[in-house]
Symmetry: C2
Subunit: 741 residues, 2 copies
């Protein structure tokens, strides 16, 4: 492949991008598309209608200006910490690859180009390999340039990583302290409640915590087996029983299987909770049936609330009894973050689920090698001609050759990669994560390692499945193998950045799938109103791995084939604008993991640096430059030490909250006399059957579709339920929208 072919490829992509971005800038101005491109504003009910004017059909760069101008503080308040962290990942990449691009253009590129005594053609017809390290002759004295560039890139990356980690840690602390009183700080999740034949889980929990933590225990809430059909049926049954047995003392019946009443206050709590005098209920035959049914539907899991954040933290962190499989305590996730259907999984199953999921994902990776190998095969034209003889004529044309070898393989790979996130999300769900953010984080790691493996390693070691694995089984030869293979594949990675990278951003901003759904609803089904009641949350599990993958490719290829850097830098700048626009306009924030994604980004970046250094070691070995190899080795050790230091210094804050911070918050709230109010809010915070129950399983590669009900829906639901009326429920129906702001 020569420069001209690369530029052809870049031209195609730029054209596609310009068209799509222009189209976007028009489409977003159409009122009919407001729920596709302004889902976030719609959720917070501040969208304004536009008049019909010519301006609507002229492409304009206003969205670019808006995305560029928004400050971090604004993003933090409107979009949450996770969005800011994601944006910081992109900014970090822009910074580090700007430095890398400058250094490599000045230092490495000339050395590569003049690395061998040969007659140079005109630059447009020059092969791309002339610009890679392959062109440097063995034993060259100029390899110190590559080594120096590697040092500068590593130092820049580590310095930036350190300050980013520090600043994100501070943001996380700020997020914890400055946020509205967060119910999850006062709550813990208890699993593995022991089964007892003579009392319900509810009573067991109450007894245990009021015995062992009498001064701090506030109340608790049992988790029930869900399933919306089951719930409706039970509600109907309950209604029947109530009507048949006479509904005189309605207020007294908190306990039985009643959707809104899964909240039994402890003896010490200060809520206005309807007394759960089960004895009086037991007397009546009708109710005792109900009570038994309720017991059947209880899960061995509960949320337990404490009077202070510090108390909740200490209980959550400690081993409760001498059997570690019982009374397992963890900090509770945020109310909107809870993944209810996984709470009912018996704790004893979790370890085996984790192992099974791990085995399944390894199998998935191995099975996935088949399409990847096929896509890789496309770069070898002779094989293709053998398989499809009728293409022979077409494959003679130069343009077609460029298209097929430079463009098609990565398109096929991208299409196959679109299958991955839903499958991995399924694995994460099966694994038994108790919160949505944890599930996304787990899926994010899995997708990340999956793509790095499939895009980088499998492509580098092209060939049959067996030979790829054989390369990895011989660990000592890995650096040399990588050193041989990576520069040869650098061209492919450059086209991958062009095709997959740029196009993915264009598709991201176009929101093709929701757009077509919207068009279908409006023009085929004839809906006029904004009927879409599912809004999207940001698909961190696909976008974080994408950004990190391009970072990985950048680090590993930078000193070997510096030509990739300008394209990569362009990708990151575009990504910065596109993702900020999407975060500001499209995706809603339903829950916030508090920057839990940054450690993943940090670790992956360090891994990228290490792989780059190992490859450099191999290359310097092949090029017979012991000095350069010798200098690379301490760099490798220093990078490992840097990583260890960051693990010590910052990681614990992402795992646990600091006592000092929580105690300060507790005291502040006590001084302000806000505690009573917080306790009241707690009572309605975790509402299992209010929302987000039906749509849990729907997740696509584009984003997890969360069911935040529209105000109309909520009002209807409230009306229905207000007949049986229990005040806190109304609060809880409002919650999702409040949280989404």
């Amino acid at each position: 492949m020569d420069i001209a072919a690369l530029l052809t490829s870049a031209g195609i992509n730029i054209a596609v991008c310009v068209v799509l971005f222009s189209l976007y800038s028009i489409l977003r101005k159409q009122p009919s598309n407001v729920n596709v491109y302004f889902g976030k504003r719609l959720a917070s009910r501040c969208s304004k209608s536009r008049d019909l004017c010519l301006d609507r059909f002229v492409p304009s760069p206003t969205w670019v200006m808006k995305a560029w101008e928004t400050t971090q503080e604004e993003m933090l308040t409107t979009c949450g910490l996770d969005a800011v962290v994601f944006s910081r990942m992109v900014v970090f990449s822009i910074r580090v690859f700007s430095v890398a691009a400058v250094i490599c253009t000045i230092l490495v590129l000339p050395v590569n180009y003049y690395g061998r005594d040969r007659k140079h053609k005109n630059i447009p017809f020059e092969s791309l390999e002339v610009f890679t390290i392959e062109n440097v002759k063995e034993g060259s004295e100029w390899l110190w340039a590559h080594c120096l560039a590697l040092y500068i890139i590593t130092l820049t990356a580590c310095t930036l990583l350190y300050f980013e980690y520090k600043s994100i840690t501070n943001l996380r602390l700020l997020h914890i302290t400055s946020s509205q009183p967060n119910p999850s700080h006062f709550a813990i999740l208890v699993r593995g409640i022991p089964w007892s034949s003579d009392q319900s889980y509810c009573e067991t929990v109450k007894k245990f915590f009021s015995f062992y933590h009498p001064s701090t225990y506030l109340s608790h809430q049992i988790v029930y087996k869900s399933g919306s059909v089951q719930k409706l049926k039970d509600d109907a049954e309950y209604m029947c029983k109530m009507l048949s047995s006479g509904c005189g003392s309605m207020e007294q019946t908190c306990k039985p299987s009643f959707a809104q009443c899964y909240f039994c206050g402890g003896s010490t709590n200060s809520f206005k909770i309807i007394s759960n005098e089960t004895d009086s209920i037991h007397g009546r035959t009708g109710y005792s049936d109900v009570h038994l049914n309720a017991r059947k539907k209880e899960c061995a899991a509960a949320f337990v609330f404490f009077k202070s954040r510090y108390a909740a933290l200490t209980v959550a962190q400690s081993l409760q009894t001498s059997n570690p499989m019982l009374w397992v305590t963890d900090l509770a996730p945020e109310p909107q973050d809870v993944y209810w259907s996984n709470l009912c999984i018996p704790y004893k199953q979790l370890w085996i689920r984790k192992i099974t999921t791990f085995a399944a994902s390894v199998t998935f990776v191995l099975v996935f090698l088949i399409p990847v190998t096929f896509a890789q095969g496309l770069t070898q034209l002779d094989k293709l001609e053998k398989m499809f003889p009728f293409l022979t004529g077409m494959l003679q044309k130069k343009f077609v050759i460029q298209l097929v070898t430079g463009y098609l393989p990565s398109v096929i790979l991208v299409l196959f990669l679109y299958v991955v996130p839903p499958v991995v999300m399924l694995f994460s769900t099966m694994e038994g994560c108790v919160s949505r953010s944890e599930r996304k984080k787990s899926a994010c790691s899995q997708v990340l390692y999956f793509t790095i493996w499939n895009v980088f390693f499998v492509n580098v070691f092209a060939g049959s499945v067996i030979s790829q694995l054989a390369v990895f089984s011989s660990l000592t030869e890995l650096p040399a193998q990588l050193a041989k293979a990576v520069p040869a594949q650098a061209t492919y990675f450059t086209t991958y950045v062009l095709s997959s990278g740029w196009a993915s951003l264009a598709f991201e901003i176009m929101q093709l799938f929701p757009l077509f759904c919207n068009l279908f609803q409006r023009f085929i089904l004839g809906y006029n109103e904004d009927t879409m009641n599912g809004f999207l949350t940001f698909p961190y599990h696909t976008e974080v791995p994408r950004i990190l993958l391009f970072g990985f490719l950048g680090f590993t290829c930078s000193i070997l084939a510096p030509l990739i850097l300008p394209f990569l830098l362009f990708y990151f700048v575009l990504a910065y604008l596109v993702y900020r626009n999407q975060i500001l306009n499209v995706y809603i924030k339903k829950y916030d993991s508090g920057g839990q994604l940054w450690p993943i980004a940090h670790n992956t970046t360090v891994l990228s640096l290490l792989v780059a250094q190992v490859i450099a070691l191999g290359v310097f070995g092949i090029k017979q430059s012991p000095v350069a190899s010798g200098f690379t080795f301490p760099l490798l050790i220093c990078t490992v030490l840097f990583h260890q230091y960051c693990r010590q210094r910052f990681l614990p804050i992402f795992k646990n909250n600091a006592t000092q911070v929580l105690i300060d918050m507790d005291r502040r709230d006590e001084r302000c006399g806000r505690m009573e109010q917080i306790y009241e809010q707690l009572s309605s915070a975790y509402c299992q059957f209010s929302s987000s129950d039906q749509s849990e399983c729907f997740s696509s590669h584009q984003g997890e579709r969360e069911d935040v009900r529209t105000p109309q829906d909520m009002e209807k639901a409230n009306e229905m339920r207000e007949d049986i009326s229990w005040p806190p429920v109304i609060h809880s129906f409002d919650k999702p929208v409040k949280g989404g702001k």
Copy 2:
């Protein structure tokens, strides 16, 4: 090597053992050796002198009877949980290898012997290889016997492991609950106290904990930079200053650099602590110097005491501030267990120390390959003849050949292995362990992996250093390589059990080094009294790896070369008697880790099973028996699942104390009104400069020599110090002896 050679080797070893054991049974009756063979009784001051009679010079098996008859309960009360756990390791090995020996003799041995159509010689002249799996012909239908034996052995081992883990977990819980009030339950160790220019560490600690944990904080004790010479010098200086500046208000001066006063009570404590009114002292010029000196000598570490066990646990487990490198809290080790000189290591150094130590121990392993390769070379006689031509005549004799090939390599290996424990102990010390038991545990793991690597893998893959590493770099071929090499080396391992195993027990019981020291002192230096003031604690870091190594050899060789099993079984029975005798008579219990060694034993046993299964997979592959391979695979998976289950079910209890248990203990003590008494004991429990300071660095492969002072010493010291008198110190001087009981 044939059966006769093996029996020769066994004969030599049995003779050596019988001689040594008889010698022991005589030597132990000599009053002059009482401090060699009854150090434990001497420490608890209940040794009785014997009269001179003929009985003293006749070998007798009374010690065997005594060791056999002692029950677990007696051992638990007199020797502590760690000793019981060690004894259970041996019992577990006896049980599992009894089953293995029976199964393998009935099932595997005949299959191996008649595995190939060949003319059998007389059994004594039969080569040992005829009894290994190498003799089974390829594609044999009888390989199911090996597979079945593997199943039975694995099942037995896992069942026994499960019940052992369960029972040891119960013993651990019993140890925690039933023991005397343990100061370490109320104390935490704080490291990384932030430096402040305007107040001492002592004040900082007091301020921090009385602000954030006002209701539970009791008091604290700063750790000082130690070094006995430094201390004596400072004491003398202090005395001078005191005398020169007039010693009117002696009682008021608690704070300055004064060996006994490293205990500043918090405002809420209930001890009778002399008030530390530093302001009044600051006024005088003489004292302010002293105060500054004291500040200089303070470390950024302290013991902080809490009012209840539960409070100490919660504080120890949580992250204190938003900087994880400051205010690092851990549960405190037992007073006798504290390794004082490591407490002063700045917490920030610890991570880099750990990495450095890891790198150092890897280097050590690699360097150690040189002597091992040499020892291995001895089995090849032709090489030896080339190196030492003058031996040619001798090496023709059959007996010498048997001796050199069967005996000498393992003796050389054993001698070299004696260097390992002190070096590894040094690594563990450098690593920064804060307690002696933790240091021993760390050393134990290191020695374990070291010996398994050097005895097993290096011997199996005999050859140059490079080729050994090359084998490991190719992971997929490992099972096949092991399958080829292990049966061939089984003979060597059998002789290793004979020579190293049996002899090590004989040397252990003889206590050669202390015996010679004693003889030297008595007959050369002419001491008459029991002047040895250092007693030995049990060298878990050498003996646990030894037991586990033989278990490893047993599991890996059992179905391949079943002839090793009877020798191994004999070893374990002998070990049971010898170690019990030593634990009962020789070694003192100074501290107790509460069974922390069992998880190491469990993990190693599971690892042994897995390695055995992988080797079996390889062997079945080589012998072309797909059925047997197919059946081995699920066994491998089930073993991994079993291990994971045990990790979930039992391991957390060895890492943390359960809240329930501690709260119950707190309440029990409160009901009994014992708390005040406990608080008083706490004040003197952790005494940095009372004992065990000078001899910290002395540790040998035989055991760590602990300095428990003799009563005379203590009285002298007390007299000296009583002049300046501060009551709790006297308690703390008594402690070590009390703890040793």
